[in-house]
Structures are given as structure tokens and as C-alpha cells.
Amino acid sequence: MRVKEKSISEILDDPEIGAWLGCYYLKQLDPGFRAGSPANTDRALAFLAGCEVVGTFDDLPGFIRRVFSLLKLEPPEAIPIANSRVSLAGRRGFEPVEVKDLTTSERARLTAFCAEDRVIFERAADLAAAARPAQAPAA
């Protein structure tokens, strides 16, 4: 299957690619996961709970500060975002396709597809929120 020409729904509906992309967090974070058997949410949540630092993408600077603190490093003054579409432009093999708005049905399909990973993410967000230092109120 040529992924480049396919719509989001076609990609998710493809049994092989869908199985490969599905339950990503679960499969990565369940220490007992073996290919061919289902991943276990409880085990993944337990692994996550044992991590020293858990962060979320929407507060990457906060995650990096906590990691640097753990490593007893001075936090970085600036955080240049790597691997963005802009930074990848011109790289060999990179032929960006246009990012299209999702249709309502595509969004629903995506949400359903990610239901199991959402449980893991929400636990991560919870752990990250609990570890986050008090925010200074806006001036």
C-alpha cells in the first residue's frame, strides 16, 4: 500500500498498517508486551507510574526542566524545537505532503482508534500535572 496517496481513513482501515500504528503507547509502555498478543493497560500504567519523570508534549519545556533537574544539569535557556516540518525541509528523502483539515468522520475514526492510548496519555498527563511546580500567576 502506498501510504502517500491514501487518506487517513484508508490508512487506519488497512489491517496491516492499522495494526502496526494502533495502541502505540500501550505497546511501547507495557513491559510484558510481545508481538502477537494484546498489550495490557494495567502493566503499561504501572510502568508509567514507576518512571522518574513523565511529561506531555504541550509542556515540553516543563518536562525538559524536570529531566535536567534529575540529571543535576542547569536547565537550558532556550529550547530549539527539532524535527519540525520547517527544520526538515530540504532533507534528503523528505517530500512533505499538504496537511489537510480532518473531516468529522475522520476525527471520529481517529478518536476511536486512539481510545486505548488515551487512557495511557491521560494517566501521563495526570502524573505530569502532579509533578508540575506551582505556576506563577500572570502579572
Binding site: V54, I79, G93
Partner: protein, 489 residues
């Protein structure tokens, strides 16, 4: 009917404690004989139960009667105690699932035990689609889970009878108000608006009743209080330590409800100034919205209405234990012990094996996010166990794809020489053969929990996750944006 309700804690004004109190109160009013049991007991909740004529007993030490009409458990600890230790018989066993993330609120049995459960005698109740999804994700063959939304008892229905055109007073109901909410007090004082925080660490700490709130024009809160406010017709702005959507509207109420009005439908935290502006600007439409929704909310969240809709008190004739035999009881106990173990720091071990699980008294307290540690009798500290965060341990940054990990890796590379890092392949996957021969190495790259536990069980692990739909979309566009040749390489 003779009914036993049980909850891990019955001490503070927290969600599941109040839920149990509201259930007990309703069932007493209906003329049932209600008993209540918990591992952790104390005031103010003991006094609240005393007001309705119930003295809660200890689930660890009380000699519970063996046969009931209805046994209602919340949390895995009470389920394990009632069904593996006390082995109570009942015509119906109900188990409530009240949170999608707190491990103690997980499904109390593993998939493998489902065949050993008298399913016709068990009703599983989740308080939101989010909670139900978490349970079924853990055990896909879970028996049917029905919804019992967080309760809005009758005194709340239409309780807000006076309304103002302009916002003049605001109450915050929170046991863990984030700094930006605490900072609203100064902005309210500046603008001459009365402001009060009710909850632990606030201006006062008491049970949330209609009398406590109806004189305010608006409430800032999450969770159960939102159901109360909706039924009362009292405008509620959803925001707390997870951020939140702000004012409820026709556009956001379904999504907010599906996340138990927790604020997790957005995770959107913002400055005190922004919250205050939203609060003031949106007050009038919010008031109209809540007025239009109060009858709907009373019907949807009312205790009696929900009980009737679900037929929860239509019980079968014969009482029986829920779990069919010793093997199932052992599976349940092992499952619960496993979850409890995952909650504990590495320097604490369990003092009971699964087949002799005996919960006891506890001094455990709730943390800021409402997660509860298990009763302390489950555990004992060990002086020799390794502590978390020892610097000479291997450090692992588990780079989940499309979650910003390249940024983290490049920042780490800027601080350490190349030979401190475990070798990675061209695609960023960790070579674990290299890690095993390098104590104290920095592992930063794509890998899995299975590899980490197999090769560096004592590692300090850090990882970052992204909203799963956004991550997946990014992954798909990554695949679409590279040539096939490049991906093959």
C-alpha cells in the same frame, strides 16, 4: 433490604466519600437498612454518616454479617476485601468505577477471572464514558458496564432561585486549587466581586451543600460539584488543576460530561487574567444556559432517577458469593495486590501474599490529585531497598515517536560527550547490547518498556507523551512525507 456500602476511605470531603454518603442517605430515606464500611475512617465523614443514623465500621476488623441483599463496593481494595476475605453473600453485588486514572479505581479483577464471576449477580457502574473506556481497555471481555453518573441529590434540584444581571460573587470549590485560580482572589478584590474558596487549603473546608453555594452567582469547580450546579441552575465554570473548558455551553457539555467534568476534555491551563476575563464576559450566557439545563440535569443525575432507570434495586431472589471458587478469589487478590504494588515507591514491599490478603488500619492520606495510597497494612517499608533517583543508575530517555523526543535528545547531546550515550541506529533505536556493557550510560532513543525492564531494571526512566490523536496524525504525516526508499533505509 439489608445493604452494605463500602469505600476505601470515609474521612474527608472527597468525591467517592461523598458519593457513598449520598447513596447511603438516599437508601436510608427509602427505608432500607444500610451499613457502611471502609478501611480509613474519621471525621468529618463519620459525623456526616452519624447524621443519617449510620456508624461506619472498619472493613479490616469488623466481623461483617455473611449475607446481604445488596453489597456495593467502590475501589479495588474494598472489592478484594469483601469478595476474597469476607466472602460476603448477596442477592446483588454492585461495583462502582469512579475514575479513569486512579489505579485504585481500576477494574478489580483481571480478564482471566471473568469466567469465575457470577455475572448475573454483578452490576458494574462507571460514572462516565471515560471511566468505562479505561476499564474495558484493561479487560476487553469485561461484563457490561452501565453508567451511574455522579449524583445530584434532590436538595440541589432548582436550588438557585435568585439571579443577578452582573457577576457579583464567585465561589471556588476545590481541594487542590491551582495557583492561577488562587490568584483570582486579587482580581476579584480589584473588581469589587466577592470571592471565596471552599475546600482543603481554602477559606473554609466543609461539605458542599446547596446552602453553601446558592448565594453565589457562579462557581468554579470540577467533578461532582458540576453535577450539583447543573441541577441547581447555578452557573459553573469548569477549571482546576487539569485546566478546563471554562463555561459550559451547548457546544462543549457532551465532551465535558464524557470526561466527568474533570477539565480533562481540554487540559487547557491559562493565566489568572485570562480566566477572569472569560469568567466575567461569559457570565450572562452561562446563566441562561444553566437555567435551560437544570431540569435536564436533575433528571439525568438525580439519585432516585438513576437508580430507577438502572433497576438497581430489582434484585434476584437468591443470595450467593460473587466469586465462584478459590482459584477466582486468588486471581482477584493477585490482581489487586499487583495494582497496589504498582502504586508504591520502590522502597516499600507488600507484607501479605495474595492468598492471605488482610487489609488493616491506615494513616494513608489523599494526594493532590485524589489518588489514594492503599491501606498501610498492605505494605511495610524496608530500610535496604534502593531509593528512586540514585545518580549512578542508568538513565533512560524513552523516546516515543512524534512526541518531541528529538528536541530532548539534542539537548542532552549538547551536555554530554558522544561516548556517554548508548549506541543508536540511524533511525534512533537503542542498541541494548551496547547498554549492557556500559554502567551509567545514557540511553536516549526509541525503545520499549520491555527492553528497559529486561536490560536496565533499575534505570531512571523519563518519557514524554502527546495527545494520542495528534501523535498518530503526526506519525501518519511523517510516513506520508518520506519517500519509500528513505523509509526502507
Amino acid at each position: 433490604m439489608k445493604i452494605l456500602l463500602s469505600n476505601n476511605h470515609l474521612r474527608n470531603y472527597n468525591g467517592s466519600e461523598l458519593h457513598t454518603l449520598e447513596l447511603a442517605s438516599f437508601l436510608v430515606e427509602q427505608g432500607h437498612a444500610v451499613s457502611v464500611a471502609a478501611f480509613v475512617l474519621g471525621d468529618p465523614m463519620s459525623s456526616e454518616f452519624a447524621r443519617i443514623g449510620i456508624e461506619p465500621v472498619s472493613l479490616s476488623s469488623a466481623d461483617l454479617e455473611p449475607e446481604w441483599d445488596l453489597v456495593w463496593t467502590n475501589q479495588i481494595t474494598t472489592f478484594a476485601s469483601v469478595h476474597t476475605q469476607h466472602r460476603l453473600r448477596a442477592r446483588m453485588h454492585i461495583h462502582g468505577l469512579l475514575s479513569s486514572i486512579a489505579p485504585i479505581e481500576a477494574l478489580p479483577f483481571p480478564s482471566a477471572a471473568i469466567g469465575g464471576i457470577r455475572q448475573q449477580a454483578l452490576t458494574l457502574l462507571a460514572n462516565s464514558p471515560l471511566t468505562r473506556r479505561a476499564a474495558t481497555a484493561a479487560a476487553p471481555n469485561t461484563p457490561k458496564i452501565r453508567f451511574l453518573w455522579n449524583l445530584a441529590p434532590e436538595p440541589w434540584w432548582g436550588a438557585k432561585t435568585t439571579r443577578r444581571d452582573r457577576l457579583q460573587s464567585v465561589a471556588v470549590v476545590s481541594n487542590h486549587a491551582p495557583p492561577e485560580i488562587a490568584a483570582l482572589e486579587g482580581l476579584a478584590a480589584r473588581d469589587g466581586i466577592a470571592f471565596r474558596v471552599i475546600g482543603r487549603g481554602g477559606h473554609d473546608y466543609r461539605r458542599i451543600t446547596p446552602d453553601a453555594l446558592i448565594d453565589f452567582d457562579a462557581v468554579i469547580s470540577i467533578g461532582k460539584t458540576v453535577n450539583y450546579c447543573l441541577a441547581a441552575g447555578l452557573p459553573v465554570f469548569i477549571y482546576d488543576h487539569f485546566g478546563g473548558p471554562g463555561w459550559l455551553t451547548e457546544a462543549n457539555i457532551n465532551r465535558a460530561e464524557s470526561r466527568i467534568y474533570s477539565g480533562k476534555c481540554t487540559y487547557n491551563r491559562r493565566s489568572a487574567e485570562n480566566i477572569w476575563s472569560e469568567l466575567r464576559a461569559g457570565f450572562a450566557p452561562a446563566q441562561a444556559f444553566h437555567l435551560s439545563r437544570q431540569a435536564w440535569a436533575a433528571e439525568r443525575y438525580g439519585t432516585g432517577q438513576q437508580m430507577e432507570r438502572l433497576g438497581l434495586l430489582d434484585l434476584p431472589a437468591r443470595a450467593a458469593p460473587l466469586l465462584k471458587g478459590k482459584a477466582t478469589r486468588t486471581m482477584v487478590a493477585t490482581h489487586v495486590v499487583g495494582i497496589i504494588r504498582s502504586l508504591l515507591p520502590k522502597d516499600v514491599v507488600l507484607n501479605k501474599t495474595a492468598d492471605t490478603l488482610v487489609p488493616g488500619r491506615s494513616e494513608a492520606t489523599d494526594d493532590a490529585c485524589g489518588r489514594r495510597p492503599p491501606p498501610s497494612a498492605f505494605v511495610r517499608p524496608t530500610a535496604t531497598a534502593p531509593r528512586k533517583g540514585v545518580s549512578e543508575e542508568t538513565f533512560v530517555f524513552l523516546h516515543l515517536q512524534k512526541c518531541g523526543g528529538t528536541t530532548v535528545h539534542e539537548l542532552l547531546q549538547a551536555h554530554y560527550p558522544e561516548d556517554r550515550f548508548a549506541v543508536r541506529d540511524k533511525s534512533g533505536y537503542v542498541d541494548w547490547n551496547d547498554v549492557r556493557n556500559k554502567p551509567g550510560v545514557i540511553v536516549s532513543g526509541h525503545t520499549t518498556a520491555a527492553y528497559i525492564l529486561r536490560s536496565a531494571a533499575k534505570a531512571q526512566v523519563c518519557t514524554v507523551l502527546r495527545e494520542p490523536e495528534d501523535r498518530l496524525l503526526s506519525h501518519i504525516y511523517f510516513l506520508k512525507s518520506y519517500t519509500a526508499d528513505h523509509l526502507k533505509r
